[in-house]
Each structure stands twice: as C-alpha cells, then as structure tokens.
C-alpha cells in the first residue's frame, strides 16, 4: 500500500488542468470544442464506471441522468430565468433524488434484469418528456439568443461552459479515485465480486449500492446541464439517446473497466478515433463498422481494456495507475 502514495490524483488533475488551459492560451476554438466533448465523455464514462466497474451493475440506460440534468437546468434557465451556475447545481438535486428513488427498487435486480430495467427507464423518461408540455414536449426547448447576453455574449457563455465541464470532469475523476481508495469502494467491489459472500462478511449491500448509483447519477446530470446550456436546444431524442449511453460503456471497456484511469483513456481514445474516422473520406462511411470491429476485438481478446492490459503486462504500473 505504501507505493500507492505516488500522487496519481494530483498528477492527473494537473494534467487535465494544463490540457484545459491550452486552447484558451493559444486561442484555438476548434480544439476547445473538441476538449469540451472529451471532458464530457470522460465525465460520463467515469461515472458509469462507478456503478458498472466498481459495483458490477451494468447500467445500460445511464444517459437518463444526463438528459434529466439537462432538462431541469434548461427549465430553470429558460422558464425561470436563472443563471447557469445555480441552475446546474440545483438541477443535480432532483436528478440525485430520482436516482435514489429508482435505484431502491431496481438495484435489487441482478445481471441482465437490471440492465434491461435501466433501458426501460431511459426509454420511459424519453417518451414522458416527449409528451410533457411543461418541458416543451416533442419539440423541446430552445434559448432566445439574448439569454447569452448576461454571460457577455455567446462566445463568453461557450467558454463558461467549457470551464464548467472541465471542473465537472475533474470532480468526477477525483470522486472516482477517492471511492476506489475508500472502505466504501471496498464494499462496492465486494458486492461486485459476490454479493452473497459480501453479505456474509457483514456488508449490507442495499445502502452502498444506492449511494454508488446516486453518485454515478449526479455527474452526468451536471454534464447534461452544461452540454445543453452550451447547445442552446434540448429535445427528448437528443437528451435520452440510448446510443450515447452504450458508447460510454464502450469507452469504459476500451480503457479498462473498474480502473480510475481507464475511462479517461477510453473516452479520449474513442473520441480521437471517431474524429479520425469521420474526417477520413475513405473511412467515413465505415466509421460505425470499424468502431464495432475495434470493440469486438477488445471484448474478445483484451477484455481488461487498455489500462487493465498494461497493468497486467507491467505489474510495476499497478502502483502508479489505479
């Protein structure tokens, strides 16, 4: 355990902070856009890793919290005229409450049943918002352009969203790291390995599971609030997009499930790969095909993901990369 004192967390936080500052200092908006997306994916992948990687519950429809956070924050900003930052913080609260309420019954389900239930919840939310006039129904909601004036124009608002997403991503990684190092994290991993044995050694599984689920819901909610603030439009199909949910699972698996660094690496690699494939004219059409092929190869032959594989291959890394 001594070697664990190598400061992974300060190192990764510093790295992300420097990376985040780079497009601002060099005044490179396209790079900023790209990093915004990467930080969002890092947030989604890292939070899904808390419930899936640490606790062993495959939350297939996890994007539901991204959509909920986005909708609640958007409602506060558009209809109530709130500022973005308080909207983001307040929007996270109902998302967390909903996570606790649905987590309580569905976390009793195991394996495939849980995965299917989360898909059902995401789809149910999508159709509910599709019909709910308070939130704009099927059309959704959109900002008047004037909303951005209180932030000093669209460009400044975009930068504010960028800084916020950076902070959210760093917060997610920090929490993910702290959980992994804590007794709470040990309880989660015991549940993952064998829930019945965990109960025998004195863990009451329901409370840590719900706590993990709520924590893993809060950060996507904040990411959703930030994303749709910057986007200026929110509609149900985009907010509760099942494909995005599955993509974040893919990132976790590519990077290394159950590791702190894995989702970060996986999200960055996935986004880089997608950018590469889309911009390459010969490959653009086969973008999805190649993504599928890569996923299949990873699942079949490198099931522990990139970080997991490195940790197995070079045991010395285990002290440095949690």
């Amino acid at each position: 355990m001594k070697r664990m004192r190598v400061p992974f967390l300060p190192a990764i936080v510093a790295l992300l902070a420097v990376l985040a500052a780079f497009p601002i200092l060099t005044n490179n908006p396209s790079m900023r856009e790209e990093l915004f997306l990467v930080f969002m994916l890092v947030t989604l992948a890292s939070s899904i890793n808390i419930i899936m990687g640490y606790t062993g519950y495959v939350s297939f429809g996890h994007i539901v919290f991204f959509g909920l956070g986005g909708y609640f924050a958007f409602y506060l900003m558009q209809i109530q005229g709130w500022h973005f930052i308080p909207s983001l913080i307040v929007a996270a609260i109902p998302s967390a409450v909903i996570a606790a309420l649905i987590g309580f019954p569905i976390l009793r389900l195991r394996g495939a049943y849980f995965a299917l239930a989360t898909v059902g919840i995401n789809e149910a939310m999508r159709v509910v918002f599709n019909n709910w006039d308070l939130f704009g129904g099927a059309v959704g909601m959109f900002f008047n352009f004037s909303v951005y004036t209180q932030y000093g124009g669209a460009k400044a608002a975009s930068e504010l969203a960028y800084y916020t997403m950076t902070v959210v991503a760093i917060a997610t990684i920090t929490v993910s790291y702290l959980i992994k190092r804590s007794k709470f994290g040990l309880a989660l991993m015991a549940i993952r390995e064998d829930q019945d044995v965990a109960m025998i050694v004195g863990i009451r599984p329901s409370r840590p599971k719900i706590a993990a689920y709520v924590i893993s819901a809060v950060f996507p909610a904040m990411a959703g609030a930030t994303f749709f603030f910057k986007n200026g439009i929110i509609e149900p199909g985009h907010a509760f997009e099942l494909l995005r949910s599955i993509e974040s699972l893919v990132m976790v698996v590519l990077g290394g499930i159950g590791t702190v660094a894995g989702p970060i690496v996986g999200a960055a690699a996935y986004e880089w790969l997608r950018g590469f494939l889309i911009t390459n004219p010969a490959l653009a059409n086969f973008q999805l095909f190649l993504a599928g092929l890569l996923l299949l190869v990873t699942v079949l032959f490198v099931s522990s993901g990139l970080v997991g594989w490195l940790r197995e291959r070079f045991p010395v890394l285990r002290g440095y990369v949690p």
């Binding site: 049943y113 239930a117 919840i121 789809e123 019909n131 999805l288 599928g292 299949l296 079949l300 099931s303």
Partner: protein
Amino acid sequence: MSLEALIPSAIDGLMLGFVYGLAAMGLTLIFGVMRVINLSHGPVIALGMFVVYTLFTGPLGVNPYLGIVAALVIGLAFGVVEYFVALDRVINAPELTTLLATFSVNLMIIGIATSVFTTTPRAVDVSLGSVGIGNVTVLGTHAVAVLVAIVVAAGLYGLLFRTRVGKSIRAVANNRAAAELMGIDSRRMLALAFGIGTSLAMVSGALLSTLFPFNPLSGTGYEVKSFVIVVLGGLGNPTGALLGGIVIGLLEGVTTVFIPVSWVPVLEYVIFILILLVRPAGLLGARA
C-alpha cells in the same frame, strides 16, 4: 368510445402482435439457451427487411413472400456465423461482455447497411387486397403476416419439442454441463440456437417490410419493443414471448382509441418496469 372503432383497431393490433411476438421469440430463445441479451437483434430485423427488398427490387423481382423463405435461411446462416465470430469465445463471460460483443455486431451491421442502403426510407410495394367482414376490413398483407408468423412459431415448437435436435437444445439450455456429459456437442447447439433466434428476427423483419416503410435503423425500435415483450412473457420463454407480443399488439391497438398515440409507449415502458420489479419471471414464468 364506440365499439365500431374499437374492434378494427383491436384486430389490427392483434395481427401486428403476432409479428412482434415472432421477433421477441428469437430474442428470448437466445436468452433462454445461453443467457445472452442479443443487442444485434434490431439490425438483424432490419437486415430481414432488406433481404426482401433487395430480392424484390433486384433483376429477378422475387415475390416478397418467397423473400421471407430466403430471410429464414440467410438468418440461420448469419446467426451461426455471428455466434462463432462474436460469442463463442466469451460465452461464459459476465453479461457485460456478451452485451458488448453483440453490440459490436450491431454497430458493424448498421455501419455497412447505412453505407450500402443509406437511410432513405424504403418500402416493398405489395398488395393482396382486403377482406371485409361486416364493418371490419382486414388487409391481405396483414392476414398473410399473421399466417406466416403462426406457421413459423409452430415450426419452432415442432423443432424444439418434437425433434432430437430440439431436445438437445433444451438440454443445453437447462444445464450445459449435464448436457455435455450426455454426449451433446453444446457448442453446436448454442450456435444453432443463436442461428434460429436470428432467423426468427429476420423473418419478422421480412414480414414487417411488407407492412411498413423502413430504413437500416428501423430495427432499433422493434428491438426495444422486443425487450418489453420478452420481459412481459418471461425472459427465456418462447410461448411467453408470443403471448407478450399479442398483448403488446392488442394494447397498442386498443389504447390508441382512448389516449393519444404518443402516450402509448409510456404505458408500455411502465408495464415493462413494473413487470421487472414485481414479477421478473414474467406472465408465464421463466424458461420453456
């Protein structure tokens, strides 16, 4: 609401329910035999549609109902190949692995299908007239779809319960190790079961192509519907899946008379989640 409106929409829903049920039977068979939730089910349904479409619009102009037979055979072959490529290696791994393995196939099919066929809506233009009984009119295509669905479902039953191969598949589903001790080649049975499940999805897609317009992404909606149906009927239970399909079809038909169409899926998902929570074994209990 008047009875005149109710009966035709109930009959319409009932007929559609058989076709939904067919796709769901494939999904549930695969889950029952190998505990895999097949995420490539939707794109395979779409492939079934395009098998019919390609044969129909091709130089031979194959009759769509002959195309269904082709979809059956192609589906079987495709499923067996998919099993050996994507699943055989990880068949004993935890759910997440097999979910992602089948999802990767999903991505590959959609990637190829969208670049070959684009996402323009297609339709197979087939008309068989209609039959009127009193004030109820039944479209010929719908009637034939139900008939085909019943024949295929009966065929599956014959195969599973009246043949030696079917017995072997059921044995593997029940206890793989014990089945192997009895001299059953479980890999072959798993591959065959996956092939049959895929084949059912393709046939269901083929039938749907004669009813509605479609594109390569159309399968996803039917896949989610299949999940609902399968859970309703009990994961792993083909009879339940057919029954669940009929229930969902009827529900869709009947409720649209009373509530706006856009609220129908809300009802479906609420039922789905409630069944999972209250009665996860489904209406008929798990396993065949």
